[in-house]
Amino acid sequence: MSLDVVSRPPADVPQGGTVAPEARADDVLAAARGASWPGASAEKHFLRYGMMPHMLCPGCGHGIVLDAMLRALARRYETLDDVAFVAGIGCSSRVVGYVDACTLHTTHGRPLTFATGLKLARPDLEVVVVTGDGDGLSIGGNHLIHAARRNIDLTCVLFNNEIYGMTGGQLAPTTIPGAYTSTSPKGNHEQPFDAARLVEAAGGTFVARAQSFRTRDFEEIFLRALEHKGFSFVEVMTDCTEYFGRTNRLGNGADLLFSQARADVAIEADLAGRPTLQEVPARPVRPVMEMGVLHESRRQTLEEAMGLVEAGS
C-alpha cells in the first residue's frame, strides 16, 4: 500500500540540473570553477560554484553588492589569482567565501590588520577588505582609522546595513536615530557614525559612498577604488531585510531597494508613522547622504614609505 496522504500528495517537482550525471570530468571541473551555465556573465566565473547558493537572507542587499564587485573585478582581471579578499565577521564578511580568489576570513573587527600584514608581505597582491558596519566601525573602528592614517594601499568596502544582522538585529554604530532594533525597543537615541567622513578625517585618500540599489554606480566607484593608490574606502548602503526592514516595518527587499531610490523619504515617513515615544528627542530621520566619490587625494602610501614598491607608480 502507499502512504495515506490526506487531500493530495506532495506536488511533483521536476528533475533538472546544470551538471548531468554523465558529464565529463572537465565539465564538472568547469562547473566547480564557476562556469555555472552556458552564457553566464563573466562575474559568475569568479564564484565558488560549489558554495552557492549563498547563505544570505532572501532580498539581502549584500548579494547585489557582491555581484557588482565581481563585475568590476571582471573588467579588471581575467582571473582572481592575484586578488586577495580579506573579511572579518558578520553577514558582509561571509560574502568573501563565495569568491574564487585568495580569501582570508579573519577575526571579528580585524580584517584590516590581517590585510595590512598581507599587503606588506605581498605588495603585488590586490587586497580587498570586505567588512561590515559592526565589524569595521564598532569592534574594528580603531583598526579602520589607523589603516586610513597609514594610507596603506588597500581597498576597503564597508557594507553598511545599519544593524547587526548576523547576531540578531542589535543596535549598530550606524543605526539611524529612532530606528527600532532588538536592543533599542524604544527607538535609537544615538547618532550614527558617518563612516566615510570618519575615514576621510583619519587620512584615507579615496573615500566614496554608494548604494546597493544604484549597483552600476557602485561598480564604477569600486573600480576606481581598486585603481587608486593608497587607502580606498567605499561605504555601500545595503539593506537588512530580516532585522532592519522587518523590525521597522519597511517591507521586503524590493521595498527597501525602492526606498533607497527615493532618498530615504519613505523610511522617514514610515518611521514617523510609528507611535510617538516621548523619550526619543527627535523623530527618526535618516540623513540624506551624499553619494559618490567624496574625497580623492594622493599622498605617500605605507609601502612607498617603506620602500616596498616604487614611489609614484
Binding site: M1, S2, L3, D4, V5, V6, S7, R8, P9, P10, A11, D12, V13, P14, Q15, G16, G17, T18, V19, A31, S36, W37, G39, A40, S41, K44, L47, G50, M52, P53, H54, M55, L56, C57, P58, G59, C60, G61, H62, G63, I64, L66, D67, A68, F213, T215, R216, T241, N252, G253, A254, D255, L257, F258
Partner: protein, 345 residues
C-alpha cells in the same frame, strides 16, 4: 533547554487521568514553522491537566531555515527532558523530510502525523538538481504514519497566516490525547498571537475533524510490523516539448543577426525575494508556487538587465541569443513558464 514546569519533585496538584499515565511527544519542523509554539501549546494542555511536563528544544539553526526539534515528556513526575529514540508515542512533523528523519524516535506502535509541506534547505541544493530533492523512501515502516497536506486541510483558515496550516496537525494530535477540546482551545487562546487566533482555532477544528483517519492510523500502528511500499517520491516529470516563439515583434533595427533577450534563472540559487518581480519594468517575471522566479513572459523582455543586476542571489543572467536558437535557449525555462502561466501569482 526550556523547562516548562517548575514542579520538579512535587506532587502534581491534580491527579492525571488514569487512562494516560505518561507519554512522549516529539515535534519537528524547520525554522519559522511554529514548532516551539506548538510544543508550548501542547505542554500547556498537559500542565492544565495536572501532569508534570518537561520540554526541551533544539532550535540553533532555525534562523537559517534549519531543523527545529522539540521534545515533550509528561507523566506524574518527569526527570529527563529527552525522548529516547524508539520511545516516542507521537511524532508531529511540520515538514516532510524532518518527519522522515525523526521516525527513529517513534515507538513500534506509535503514530506519526506528518505534514507533506516541503522546505528544501539551501544546503540540499548543493547538488544543483533544480529544487528537487530525493526524499528517503520509507521502506519497511512498522508504525502508523499519517501524511497530511496541511494546507489543503486548513483551506481558508490559513489564508491570512500560512503558518496556521500546521495547527491542523495539533487538531489531529488532539484526537489521540484524552483531553477535552476546550482545554486545547484555552491553550491556543493563551499562546497564539491575536492576529492568528481565529485561523488557528479553525485549523485546529479541521484537524480534529480528521478523527477517522487518525484513528485508522492509530489502529494500523497497533498491528504487527507490516510492509509498506515506498512513500510518495519525487517523480521526474516528462520533459516539456519546446514551444515555438514568434520573435518578430522584438526585432532590433540595424542588427544583422536578430538577437533576442532571454533571462536565464538558476532555480536552485533563487530564494524568491521578489526583487526581480518588483523591479522588472515589463513585468516579465513571476514567482511560481515554489517561490522561485520564472521568466514567464519572454515576448515582453527588453533585455534591460535590471533583474540580473539587482538579483541578490546572483541567480540571473540576461543572454542575447539568436532568434533562430530561441527555442533552445528558452527550453531550460520552458517548463517553468508553462507552470507559471497555469498558476500566476
Amino acid at each position: 533547554m526550556t523547562r516548562v514546569n517548575g514542579s520538579n519533585g512535587k506532587v502534581p496538584a491534580r491527579t492525571p487521568p488514569a487512562r494516560l499515565e505518561s507519554g512522549n511527544l516529539v515535534v519537528v519542523g524547520v525554522g519559522g514553522q511554529g514548532v516551539i509554539l506548538a510544543s508550548n501549546l501542547v505542554s500547556q494542555v498537559l500542565l492544565d491537566a495536572g501532569y508534570d511536563v518537561k520540554k526541551s528544544e533544539v532550535h540553533g539553526m532555525s534562523q537559517r531555515g534549519g531543523t527545529v526539534v522539540s521534545h515533550v515528556r509528561f507523566g506524574p513526575e518527569v526527570h529527563s527532558v529527552m525522548v529516547e529514540p524508539g520511545s516516542a508515542d507521537w511524532i508531529v512533523a511540520f515538514e516532510w523530510e524532518e518527519g522522515l528523519r525523526s521516525l527513529s524516535y517513534l515507538k513500534p506502535n506509535g503514530v506519526a502525523l506528518v505534514s507533506t509541506e516541503r522546505r528544501i534547505p539551501p544546503a540540499a541544493m548543493l547538488d544543483h538538481r533544480d529544487q528537487s530533492l530525493e526524499y528517503p523512501a520509507l521502506g519497511e515502516v512498522p508504525f502508523g504514519v499519517l501524511a497530511l497536506d496541511t494546507f489543503a486541510v486548513a483551506g481558508d483558515a490559513a489564508a491570512a497566516v500560512p503558518a496556521v496550516a500546521q495547527t491542523v496537525l495539533l487538531g489531529a494530535l488532539s484526537v489521540l490525547l484524552p483531553f477535552p477540546v476546550e482545554a486545547w482551545q484555552a491553550s491556543i487562546n493563551a499562546w497564539v498571537p491575536r492576529k492568528a487566533l481565529t485561523g488557528n482555532l479553525r485549523a485546529f477544528e479541521r484537524g480534529r475533524a480528521l478523527a477517522p483517519e487518525v484513528r485508522a492510523a492509530e489502529a494500523a500502528a497497533r498491528t504487527v510490523a507490516r510492509t509498506v511500499e515506498p512513500g510518495p517520491e519525487v517523480v521526474p516529470s516528462a520533459s516539456a516539448s519546446p514551444v515555438e516563439h514568434d520573435g518578430a515583434k522584438r526585432s532590433r533595427d540595424g542588427v544583422a543577426e536578430r538577437l533576442l533577450p532571454v533571462v536565464r534563472i538558476e532555480r536552485s540559487w533563487c530564494k524568491g525575494c521578489d526583487i526581480c518581480v518588483a523591479m522588472c519594468p515589463e513585468k516579465c517575471l513571476v514567482l511560481d508556487e515554489l517561490d522561485v522566479a520564472v521568466f514567464a513572459r519572454p515576448e515582453r523582455c527588453t533585455g534591460c538587465q535590471l533583474c540580473a543586476l539587482l538579483c541578490p542571489d546572483l541567480a540571473m543572467d540576461v543572454l542575447w541569443v539568436p532568434a533562430d536558437d530561441l527555442t533552445g535557449w528558452l527550453f531550460a525555462n520552458e517548463e517553468d513558464r508553462v507552470r507559471a502561466a497555469a498558476d500566476p501569482r
